[in-house]
Symmetry: C2
Subunit: 726 residues, 2 copies
């Protein structure tokens, strides 16, 4: 059985969440004498994993189980109880809950299935259950949870059969919304010789949910990183707070969000076909708050292996020593693909190494060639050339199967590598199959993780290097730009283009100069006042695709054209949208050419108002070239959003074009994000399309805009998302 450390309760009995991992006394309600049953396994595992606290089986059916005295009710337990496990049917759970409250138990884990996962009746039962728990002051993990595990203390409050095999404790934590998959991750971690210390599965999350557990885990002093398997985040604010804590505490959250092909949390939202999917929002939030987001559990475990060895590269410059030229190429390729650098060694160092092995690659990557097998002594010199350099932040070694296969080489390489780690303080990663003998043990003890595949090793290293950099950026940014205090904006009539732009203009977004006309003559008068050329567009809350029905006229150069354009628009609307309510025709200045962007607000049910920006035309829609952030954003974040666009070069003036007024766009994004927060109570979606960025110094102008208000009108209105597909 794995070694057990004495657990110290971090915050005393005050923190019910801590009891999931640090309880000293556990009641197992529904305890069973059968070691294979759900009520028997927790007791078996608590004893097998050497839990040092008190175990109280609760059942009226036995006097004792495996030498432990049973109690008929938790109320009968003599001493204090930190945690109760409810291994009972859903029907019995409410009664047990009352008992737990009466006994003063702060926290219960509810294994019982038969709640929300069973449909409406179950959902109602679950709601009643947690309401009662809240009233009683008991915190609930579950129902339908597989429990929580502290492998360090042996607190195995779970029925997962994954504990049938031994698992060693280590400096990683895992929280999983899937009990079964969480257990599988634990099994994989063990097969990789990777220790999870704390592990919780949150089940139906009726009370304690993911973010709260995350927040607890990232504060755990014995934890280096927290792995999170997520199907759905329920409390966006709490999640963001946990992410901020993680960053401050320096314990990265490595997260996999599954269900990306699913419409999932956003299935309830009206506008199918919107360009923004739920996955985009999750990814944007993960990036905004410095989580390490991964696509596969393999990637998560690769990163975990590095973090488990304390690897946090201080920068992105990598030194490579390889036994094989082919592997050197692959590692250099992988570095380039992952945004890592492989700085060339100075010529004098190269010359020195070349004198030693004339046909070696000496620039970095260092290809020591098969000569290293004949002459293992050269390794110290080759590795040393990189290890001493200030411009190298991390070192990747390739030895393939040779360490495990060729004894002499193996020990030299491993010894020298471990020594270099100690001397240089740099993080090392080895790509090799060291077998499971002495070499593997020495690597582990020397703090050098080994992975089999060069690409995966480099990707994991890169994820951490990028995380370290991102963390510094975000912590600095949050310090210099404290949270904006944004006053609520009262609901405003904004159901036409004209009204939407008036609203924007009133809140600091520059819009095209325009006036509303009710007659051809009035239109011509407005045009004269605005100055030619002008554009005319119908102003209606009901017409999304103005161009499609011929209700837009551009580049009108005199009064006569304006008047006849007015009439044409009126006729087009009569013909093609006879039921639309028309509120006049907009007469608008023709904004000079510039770079077209799209800016928007999307209210996400989990994370609240998000601000979107992308390049206009086909970019955002067709090529999905847009970025998102949770509002509000500061200027630095807005600038970062623009730079993330693949087509950013368009703003910088590609193909001899003028440089756009990027500063003004940044201001626009910031301003829109403040509107998003101020009007979060009533704006569902807002869409500026296009925003034209004029050449530098010229600013940017909202040319068209649409606002969709939340739950207000029963009359169907076209959504901005539908318009984007124009």
């Amino acid at each position: 059985m794995p070694p057990r450390t004495e657990d110290t309760l971090p915050t005393g009995r005050a923190d019910p969440l801590a009891m999931l991992f640090h309880a000293r006394s556990v009641a197992v309600v529904g305890a069973s004498g059968s070691e294979e049953s759900i009520g028997g396994r927790p007791i078996k595992y608590l004893r097998r994993y050497g839990f040092g606290g008190r175990i109280y089986p609760v059942t009226p059916r036995h006097d004792s189980i495996g030498g432990l005295r049973c109690h008929a009710s938790v109320r009968d337990i003599p001493g204090p109880v930190d945690l109760a496990i409810l291994a009972v049917s859903a029907a019995r759970a409410p009664k047990i809950l009352e008992d737990c409250a009466a006994k003063g138990i702060p926290t219960v884990i509810v294994f019982s299935a038969g709640f929300a996962e069973l449909g409406d009746d179950g959902r109602a039962a679950q709601a009643r259950f947690v309401e009662r728990a809240a009233r009683l002051g008991v915190r609930v993990c579950g129902p339908n949870s597989m429990g929580a595990i502290n492998l360090r203390s042996g607190l195995t409050a779970t029925f997962s059969s994954v504990l049938e095999h031994a698992h060693q404790a280590g400096p990683l934590a895992l929280v999983s919304q899937s009990g079964m998959y969480g257990a599988y991750i634990l099994a994989q971690a063990t097969a990789l010789d990777l220790g999870l210390g704390l592990f919780a599965t949150t089940g139906n999350e009726a009370d304690i949910e993911l973010s709260e557990v995350l927040d607890h885990l990232v504060r755990d002093p014995e934890t280096r990183a927290v792995l999170a398997y997520v199907e759905q985040i329920r409390d966006g604010d709490a999640f963001v707070r946990a992410a901020e804590t993680a960053l401050k505490e320096g314990r990265p959250i490595v997260i996999i969000k599954v269900g990306r092909s699913d419409v999932g949390a956003r299935a309830a939202r009206s506008h199918t076909g919107a360009i923004v999917g739920s996955h985009d929002i999750y990814e944007a939030v993960f990036r905004q708050y410095g989580l390490v987001s991964v696509d596969t559990v393999d990637e998560m475990l690769d990163i975990a292996r590095l973090v488990g060895h304390g690897i946090f590269p201080a920068g992105k410059r990598v030194g490579i020593v390889s036994l094989s030229g082919g592997a050197a190429i692959m590692l250099a390729d992988a570095c380039a693909a992952s945004g890592l650098e492989v700085p060339e060694l100075p010529e004098d160092v190269q010359a020195r190494l070349r004198r030693r092995v004339p046909f070696a690659g000496v620039a970095n990557p260092i290809d020591a060639t098969g000569q290293l097998i004949n002459e293992p002594d050269i390794y110290e010199e080759f590795l040393g050339a990189l290890a001493v350099r200030e411009d190298i932040d991390a070192i990747v070694l390739f030895f393939g199967q040779m360490i495990g296969y060729v004894d002499g080489l193996g020990s030299t390489v491993v010894e020298e590598s471990v020594k270099a780690v100690r001397d240089s303080g740099k993080p090392f990663v080895m790509v090799a199959m060291p077998g499971d003998g002495r070499a593997a043990r020495m690597l582990r003890e020397g703090g050098i993780p080994h992975l089999t595949d060069p690409d995966r090793a480099v990707r994991a290293l890169a994820a951490l290097a990028h995380h370290v950099e991102r963390r510094e950026t975000l912590l600095r940014r949050w310090q210099t730009a404290p949270a904006a205090d944004i006053a609520p904006i009262p609901e405003t009539e904004a159901d036409t283009e004209f009204a939407a732009k008036r609203f924007l203009a009133a809140h600091g977004i520059r819009t095209a100069r325009e006036r509303l006309a009710r007659s051809p003559e009035e239109a011509a008068r407005h045009a004269g006042a605005l100055g030619y050329p002008v554009a005319l567009k119908v102003n209606s809350p009901d017409i999304a695709h103005k161009t499609d029905i011929g209700a837009v006229r551009l580049g009108l150069r005199d009064a006569e054209s304006v008047e006849s354009a007015f009439d044409e628009i009126a006729r087009a609307v009569e013909d093609r949208a006879p039921d639309a309510e028309v509120r006049g025709v907009l007469v608008q200045e023709m904004v000079p050419p510039g770079v077209e962007l799209i800016l928007g607000i999307e209210r996400d049910p989990v994370f609240g108002p998000m601000v979107l920006c992308g390049l206009g035309g086909v970019h955002a829609e067709l090529l999905r070239d847009f970025t998102l952030r949770r509002a509000p954003v500061d200027r630095e974040t807005a600038d970062e959003m623009l730079r993330e666009l693949r087509g950013y070069a368009l703003l910088e003036g590609v193909r001899g074009g003028a440089v756009a007024d990027i500063d003004a766009v940044v201001d626009g994004v910031v301003g829109l994000s403040r509107i998003a927060v101020g009007a979060r109570a009533w704006i569902e979606e807002l869409d500026i399309n296009p925003l034209i960025a004029l050449p530098r110094g010229g600013g940017c102008v909202a040319v068209d805009a649409l606002i969709r208000v939340r739950d207000r009108s029963t009359r169907p209105r076209p959504s901005p998302a539908a318009r984007r597909r124009r």
Copy 2:
């Protein structure tokens, strides 16, 4: 030691390449009594792996080695010799080669280093060596090769210490340009319980190179797939032939091309910054000829595990049975991301399964839930519901660690799965850690590969499903479109825009109507003849960025504007390109608006002329949205190229735009590809930018073009690639 099968020589002594894998008698020249030396290991391994043929140690220093009689020279060997291994210094190799020829040995493997990898002297020595070999009629694998291995027959003509451990033979073959990395792949394959039958490392490829070995391996009847580790392809034509053979024989080549971040093979080419990189060309060729291209060795081995079990899914429709809802989501996500479908089961089948387990997911993915652990019998019914369906091509199962951890469940699941494979004939893949006991063995024997990670399992399955579909497409396409017989096009003067377009027009590409003017008056006359509006552009072999220097005027509507535009252009050229040779000013019709494309020819040093097409504007350059194929291409391939563009929807008329004349563009690509082949002797690059695709029925028009001719002028000319960056 691994089991050995009796090897049958497929083509008799006639095929020297076959000797690498099927020699019955091997001379080891430079044989050594030390089992650790390069001349000792092949003998050790040949005996340890149970080679059944004759082994002849050749050395004057011993009478016998390990009981085998030594000969002072290969000439002294009594019987015939199929293969000689040269484990001697580079200096001695030429003399030994003569001996081998004299003895009538058809094939030699040269371990000796000290040739091309050592620089100019070595390159010269290598050239002399292979010249001599060619004259003597001896085929050479190497020099600097690690040798070749047939694990089925025990023919281990290698010094690689990877054979210190036992490796089992299997239905896969591997060819690697890196000996060391190839050996590492073998070690990984063995760790994954994956059998490589044939394995060759090609070393410096002075004579026998990758493609020839590939061609041999894909014809091997005992091989199911060929893995290829490639740093550089030397003979494009031979490679393409091998790929075609592989497709016809139904043995996929799973290929990893390393060195993508390197300027590599194209470093020698003049135009840095061209949009097309060497990696793009490799990927295009791999796609064009139906190879399975992978980014990592992990991916290669995942696919190998499936192919090794004979998995070739007939279609893309996947059934999923999972013990965990989380895993079901992940598998469905992965299918969606990989282009696989997860068809929903009919309502009656769902109802039947739902009656069995009310809270199970029954639509497909089937989430059998933990109920399966309590009631393993339901598995037969759940799996059967998918296995019998005609609209399911492959089945993916998820059991995590449970099979290895829970005995009862494990045997039921494995037995039922194996039975379902047998009954349904469908390919099955299991995501699980079955341990290394009985369950794992039964899976293996039952033909069910197991992978640990759901994403990787699905990606590998998808790669094979796409390959099967691609193979059918290509075989049919090649049958219906036999290789085009294209006459050479003699070199033509084409160093200005005017000349380039005349050349294109002469070969069937429609170009903008235009005339060349030498004076303002002549320009106005031409404009009148062409019809207004017109464009004027300088016509010069020396000016690439005409717009930048103000030498282009668009939309000229009358004779007066044309005349003054002519003068302005003349002045601009005088000012800003005073040394340029000017050959008049082009007067060109203004082509109506349409979708802008770019079409081009790039002559690749390895694969010959490639044809490129992409969307114009920022798409091809900034967003790298272009496709490539080796010329010539047929209409179907050209159509496929267009459809691969991310911005293809632009041609289909996104945002209310007209549908472009896609047929005409397809004709243009086909026509250009025929020019590429016809003029392969002299066109280095050709660039049509833009080609304007008019609305359907209107055709497409080359508006600007540039041709760069091979090695003709000593005077530097701007290249089309440089112009693309305009």
